[in-house]
Symmetry: C2
Subunit: 362 residues, 2 copies
DNA sequence: TTGAAAGCGTTACCAA
DNA sequence: TTGGTAACGCTTTCAA
C-alpha cells in the first residue's frame, strides 16, 4: 500500500514520533535529524494520510465554504477570495496547509443543513457560510442550531452576508442600506413608479434588499403596490419574465429595480423587446456590479459590494488570523454606482411636486 | 467530546459493529435492530467521524474538482454541474454521500500539483481535473506523474477539457475544431485580416484554440502574422489592452478572435473606444458563450461548449456511474453560434477574389 | 532532543 | 444476523 509515517521513520532511522514532529514543524528537532527525515520523505514521496492525522488530532485541515451556487459569479468571486486567502497561508502542500472546499446548496435550507453535516462529519477546521439565509423562523433556527453544534465541536464558524447567529463571527452585508440608497437615488432623479424584481422568496438577502427599497419609498411618501414586486431566482430569465408581467400590470412605470445585475440584464432585454428604450423610457437598477455588467448594461445603476475584500476577510477570520470584530459582527457596506442619471421621461404633475420636497441623496 | 459510534451502540444495546452495518446500509440487519439503531442515532444526534471512517476504510468520501479559477463563470458552471451530479446521488447527509470539493489553481502548474497532493492526502475517492493543462513537457509530465500516483492509490481520476494522460478517463474538449470552424465562418464572410487575443501562454486550451484558428487560415491560404497574436489572462482587461495594441499594429483588421467571451467583451469595448463600430467596422468572435455574453455583446460569434452536460458526465464518471468511453477518451464538441453575419466593410480586390474560391461552411 | 506506547473512531474479518 | 476484535496511520503524553 501507500508509504506511511513508519516507512519514513525506518528509512530515516528515527522513531515515528520524530517524523511526526518534523512534519508538524512545531516541535524542536535537531537539525541533522530533521534533514534526514525530510530527505526520507522526499525519497519515498511520502504523502501524509489526512484522515489518520485528523483522527488523531481531532481536527482536519479542511475549511468549508458554503455558498448557494458556485455557477453564480457573485459566489464565485466571493469563494475565490476566501480560497486564495486560505491558500496563501502556509507553505504549499506542506503539512498544516488548509484545503478550502466549496460546497453549494442551491439556496435551499435542507441542502444547507446537509452540507454543514458533511463538513461536521469531516471535522472541518472552519466553515465560512456565505450568502443569505432562510427567513422562516423554523429554518433559520435549524441552521442556527446546526451551526451551534459545529462551533461546539471545535469548528470555527464565520458567517458572510447573512444575519448574525448566536456568537458566530459575522460579516454582515448591508443589503438594506444599499437598496435604500439605490432607491433614494432613483427618487432624487424624479422616478415615482417602480417595478421591483426580487430574488427568491424567503431568503434574507431578498427580504433585506426589498425592505431597504420600501423604506426609501415610504420615507419619500411614495406609495408602492405589492403587485409590482415579483419574485424569482437570480437569473436572467427571471428578470425577463418578471418585466413582461410588470409592464402588463403597470405600463407606465419608469424604473425597475432588480435583485441583482444578472436579473437586471433580463430586465433590460425584456424592456427593449417591449419597445422601451433603456435608459430613456425606463431606468434599470441592479445589485452587485459584477465585472460583466458594465458591458452588458452600461447604464445600469448598481450597488457594488466589495466582494473580494469581504471574502478575504472571511478567510482570515476562518483561519483565526484576524481579530474578531467587536460584538462579533462587522458590517460591509456597498457603494452606489450610478453610471447614468436618467430622469423619468414624462413626470406627472403631482409627482413632480413631491419631488421638489425631496432632498437628493448621494 | 462528540458522540461516537460506541455511544450509539450502547444506547441501542447492540455492538458497534452492528451500528456500523446499519449506517453503511449494505449489510443485512434485522429490521427491529435497524430501527433501534436509527432511533439512537437520531436521539443522540450522532454524526459519523469522517476521518475515522476514511482511515478504516482506506478511502474518504471526498470528490475533488480541480479548476483554474472558480471566480470564472466558465469553471463555475462546469464545477456546479459536477457538484450537482454528485450530490444528486446518495441520500442527503446519509453515510456514503460524497462531498464534492472545488479547488482552484489559478492555472499554475505548481498550484495544480499542490491541490492534487492535498486531495491525495485526503485520500479522495475521485478527482475531476477540469480545464486545460500545461504545455511545457516537464510540467505536463509532473502533473501526469502525480495523477498516476493518485490513480495508483485508488483515486478515480477524470480529466475534463484537457488532453488525455495515461489511462485516466478523459472528456476532451474539441477546442481546435471549434476554433477552426469559428475562423472558417469568418473567412466565409470575407474577412482576411484577423487579430487574435489568445489566453495565457503555455496552456493547452490556449494552444489548441490558436492551432485551430491557424489551421483554418492556412487551409484558406490566408497568411497570418505572429505579430497579430497577443496573449493574456482570461479577463476583460486583457481583451481591452490587446485590442488597443492590435489596432496599433494593424489598423486595417476587420475581425478579432478572442480567447473567450470575457476577453471578447474587452475587445468590443476597446474597439468602440477607438472609434470602430462593432459589428460593422470590425467583427468580434469569442468562445464559450456564457449566459451573459448575449447581453454584453449581442453580435458576438462564439463556440458554445456544452458545459453543463460535460460537467454532469464528468461527475458520473467520477462516481463510476457511467461507463468508461472506448479508449478512455470521449471528445466534446462545441456548437458554432453566429448571431450576426457581418462581412468586412471594405473588401480589398485580391482578397475578394480569394473569398470566391472558398466554400462557405456551417 | 528522542523513543515508546496509548489512544483516536471506524471498518471488516472471523466466530458464534 | 450479530458480537468481538484486530487493524488503519497518526498525534501526543510520559519517560528517558
Amino acid at each position: 500500500m501507500a508509504v506511511t509515517l513508519a516507512d519514513v521513520a525506518a528509512r530515516a532511522r528515527v522513531s515515528p514520533a520524530t517524523v511526526s514532529r518534523v512534519l508538524s514543524g512545531k516541535y524542536p528537532v535537531a537539525e541533522p535529524t530533521r534533514a534526514r527525515v525530510l530527505r526520507a520523505v522526499d525519497e519515498l514521496e511520502y504523502v501524509a494520510n489526512g484522515p489518520a492525522s485528523a483522527l488523531a488530532a481531532a481536527t482536519s485541515d479542511l475549511v468549508g465554504i458554503v455558498v448557494a451556487d458556485i455557477a453564480d459569479p457573485f459566489f464565485g468571486i466571493l469563494a475565490g477570495a476566501v480560497q486564495s486567502e486560505i491558500s496563501a497561508a502556509g507553505r504549499a502542500g506542506g503539512a498544516g496547509e488548509k484545503l478550502p472546499v466549496v460546497c453549494s446548496t442551491g439556496g435551499r435550507t435542507e441542502r444547507e443543513l446537509t452540507c454543514l453535516t458533511l463538513l461536521q462529519r469531516q471535522r472541518a477546521a472552519a466553515v465560512v457560510v456565505a450568502g443569505g439565509g432562510a427567513e422562516r423562523p423554523e429554518d433559520a433556527a435549524a441552521v442556527a442550531a446546526k451551526l451551534a453544534r459545529l462551533a461546539a465541536s471545535g469548528t470555527r464558524v464565520v458567517l458572510c452576508g447573512r444575519p448574525p447567529v448566536a456568537d458566530a463571527v459575522t460579516l454582515a452585508f448591508d443589503h438594506r442600506g444599499g437598496a435604500r440608497r439605490l432607491t433614494e437615488h432613483l427618487l432624487s432623479l424624479g422616478h415615482r413608479r417602480f417595478g421591483y424584481v426580487a430574488g427568491p422568496p424567503g431568503r434574507t438577502t431578498t427580504g433585506d434588499r426589498l425592505a431597504g427599497h420600501r423604506a426609501a419609498l415610504a420615507a419619500a411618501g411614495v406609495g408602492h403596490s405589492a403587485r409590482l414586486v415579483l419574485h424569482g431566482p437570480y437569473d436572467r430569465a427571471s428578470g425577463y419574465a418578471a418585466t413582461v408581467e410588470l409592464l402588463r400590470r403597470d405600463p407606465g412605470l419608469t424604473a425597475v429595480v432588480a435583485a441583482n445585475d444578472t436579473v437586471a440584464l433580463g430586465v433590460c432585454a425584456a424592456l427593449r423587446d417591449q419597445g422601451r428604450r433603456v435608459p430613456g423610457d425606463v431606468s434599470v437598477a441592479g445589485f452587485d456590479d459584477l465585472p460583466f455588467s458594465r458591458d452588458a448594461a452600461p447604464a445600469l445603476t448598481t450597488v457594488r459590494l466589495p466582494l473580494r475584500e469581504a471574502g478575504a476577510r472571511a478567510g482570515r477570520l476562518a483561519l483565526g488570523r484576524e481579530e474578531r470584530p467587536p460584538g462579533g459582527v462587522a458590517t460591509v457596506r456597498g457603494e452606489l454606482v450610478a453610471r447614468a442619471s436618467t430622469a423619468p421621461p414624462r413626470p406627472q404633475g403631482g409627482d413632480a411636486d413631491r419631488a421638489n420636497r425631496l432632498t437628493p441623496i448621494t
